[in-house]
């Protein structure tokens, strides 16, 4: 079953390009810092140097190597993205499926809560929470971001499960005396699996973008290096107006490459798996 699902994806050129770019950056993040052994925090007298053989992407105001920062930044940003996405996915699945299964007052309360979070600008609340935390670890930033991007996913899960539970094959399974667990695993989960995967991808993007936004406003992780922090340092040191392009362009390119490639993966999956979008 698995191979029949996956095969059409690899016939799609856009999917292959998207997934390759993403995997490339994933590898850069995971293996980059191990192979390029320059300390990203080490200050040297070669400050604000354009790219050279010694520093492939130049240096910043403190003479720190930009390439080393970039590799560590990609690693942290991906980490924050994945963590935030996992939190959102779990929260959304719990709220959505509880709503769909329990109905009644549970459903009403959960959906009211969902709508409130959905209407409230999440980045603002994230900024507010972060402003009260004096020390922010990467994990804290991921949690703050993950706490607010689940609502639309919860609503979609609820809608999907509600429509599925009233279909004949589910009735049949119930009549056959299947346990709840077996019902959930065999009949319900497969119907939300691809959607959940696509949402996970968008949540990662939300986490990476959110981290960059928080960092730029001065509320990013207080330790370590992320892509957002690199951009913030560049802005603080007026790198843009002083024309130090090698400083602010790489982190942005990494953010766009990672999030855009994930977007391409998600949309092409939609095109392949969604019968209403599939081309005849």
């Amino acid at each position: 079953m698995f191979s029949t699902m996956i095969r059409p994806l690899f016939k799609n050129k856009k999917f292959i390009i998207g997934i390759s770019i993403f995997l490339l950056f994933l590898l850069l993040g995971i293996l980059g810092p191990t192979f390029y052994k320059v300390d990203p925090t080490e200050m040297t007298w070669d400050y604000e140097q354009p790219p050279s053989v010694e520093h492939p992407l130049g240096t910043d105001t403190y003479g720190r190597d930009i390439l080393a920062q970039l590799l560590h930044g990609i690693r942290s940003s991906l980490y924050i993205g994945f963590l935030a996405a996992t939190i959102s996915l779990v929260l959304g699945t719990i709220v959505g499926s509880l709503s769909a299964v329990k109905r009644g007052i549970v459903d009403d309360t959960l959906m009211a809560m969902t709508n409130i979070v959905l209407t409230t600008p999440s980045i603002l609340i994230a900024i507010l929470i972060a402003s009260y935390l004096r020390i922010r670890s990467m994990e804290a930033v991921a949690v703050i971001l993950g706490l607010f991007q689940w609502p639309w996913f919860a609503r979609a899960i609820r809608a999907q499960l509600m429509s599925v539970t009233s279909r004949e094959y589910v009735y049949l399974s119930i009549m056959a005396g299947y346990s709840d667990l077996r019902l959930v695993i065999e009949d319900l989960l497969p119907t939300i699996a691809t959607y959940a995967f696509m949402s996970f991808v968008l949540f990662i993007n939300g986490g990476i973008m959110g981290e960059a936004g928080l960092s730029l406003i001065g509320l990013g992780p207080t330790r370590g290096i992320s892509l957002g922090l690199m951009l913030q340092w560049a802005v603080l040191m007026e790198a843009v107006r002083r024309g130090l392009w090698w400083w602010f362009i790489p982190p942005g390119v990494a953010i766009v490459a990672i999030t855009a490639s994930l977007m391409v993966v998600s949309t092409t999956m939609d095109e392949v798996f969604n019968p209403r979008l599939r081309e005849e």
């Binding site: 936004g213 406003i217 843009v240």
Partner: protein, 338 residues
């Protein structure tokens, strides 16, 4: 025009948004009191760094902070006072601009944010939807592929980073446009032609970076919606009846607009967040820039004040979108919903 079902729909939305607003302000109230490590105490201790070397200012700020947060009173009383004050528009006294009132500091910067945000959002929405619909209409042609691929990439560019690229290219390298601010330093905002031209020059880059990076998202959404609609039964039936393509497309387009209007409401917060950061990158004197200054000086009454106002404006904008929606959607206007 304003029918009874429409009124009922709007009333329901209004009550929902009011409840949401109360919940949100409650969160604003609870946060500084609930976060471990007691930020209030930390605030007081870090005040000495902010109000430099002026013991009188430190003590005044300390008193203000104690009074603003009313920490000596029972929590419920504090909460009641907080809500009443927020409703009256009294947001307390700023610490870094002591003794000026927070509301007096926020009001002058709001127009700058609105001037930037509203036209940019609307232009992006209109352009994006038009492009997306065009792509769906010409599905699988080079127009479609071009629009889809470029939208996918462009929609992922953070506004502020695009802003940085613009500043570097058109401001620093080519020297065509001013690199920061909303008007030249030294000029005083006035209603003269010269000031208008000057402000317009400063406006182009922040405006363009928001429009370009939000447009793609709308285009992608609209394209999918129109493709859905064109594949639905009524579109196929019309086709079998021999109706012209253009006309079917018009129906599909109108039906696809409704979800895009809902999307507009849901996206307002994200767009606002992005615009705030864009303001920081451009040193544009709007709410985002004020917030940034408040955050760097730990001016908590100001931070809270900005949040109460921003959240209220997002809900207000939501309500306006609801109104539009109710007015456009005949199912709500004529009461066929539910």
């Amino acid at each position: 025009m304003a029918s009874k079902p429409m009124f009922r729909f709007l009333l329901r939305r209004f009550i929902f948004l009011l409840v949401t607003y109360i919940v949100a302000t409650t969160v604003v109230f609870i946060l500084p009191r609930a976060i471990p490590g007691n930020p209030l105490a930390q605030m007081l201790s870090s005040l000495s760094q902010v109000a430099q070397a002026n013991p009188e200012a430190i003590r005044a700020a300390e008193r203000t902070l104690m009074k603003e947060f009313g920490v000596d009173k029972p929590v419920l009383v504090q909460y009641g006072e907080f809500l009443l004050k927020a409703l009256r528009g009294d947001l307390g006294t700023s610490i870094s601009y002591y003794p000026r009132k927070v509301i007096d500091l926020i009001v002058p910067v709001i127009p700058w944010t609105l001037i930037l945000l509203l036209p940019a959002t609307l232009v992006a929405w209109i352009l994006g939807n038009t492009l997306g619909a065009l792509a769906a209409y010409r599905r699988n042609t080079w127009i479609d592929k071009g629009v889809l691929t470029s939208s996918l990439v462009v929609s992922q560019i953070p506004y502020y980073w695009l802003g940085m690229i613009f500043i570097f290219l058109f401001g620093v390298r080519l020297g065509w446009l001013p690199v920061q601010g909303a008007y030249s330093q030294g000029t005083i905002p006035s209603l003269s032609w010269g000031f208008f031209v000057d402000a317009l020059k400063h406006y182009v880059m922040p405006f363009a970076s928001i429009v370009i990076s939000t447009m793609g998202g709308w285009a992608i959404g609209m394209r999918v919606m129109v493709v859905y609609e064109l594949g639905s039964d009524y579109a196929l039936f019309s086709e079998y009846l021999g109706m012209r393509d253009k006309r079917i497309f018009k129906y599909a387009f109108r039906n696809s607009l409704l979800p895009q209007i809902t999307g507009l409401a849901l996206n307002l917060g994200t767009v606002l967040g992005g615009a705030l950061i864009t303001e920081i990158v451009f040193n544009y004197p709007g709410t985002g820039f004020l917030l940034f200054k408040a955050l760097t000086t730990l001016d908590y009454p100001m931070i809270q004040g900005i949040f109460v106002i921003l959240i209220a404006s997002v809900y207000l904008a939501n309500f306006i979108v609801d109104f539009l929606y109710a007015w456009i959607d005949p199912r709500i206007r004529l009461g066929q919903e539910e």
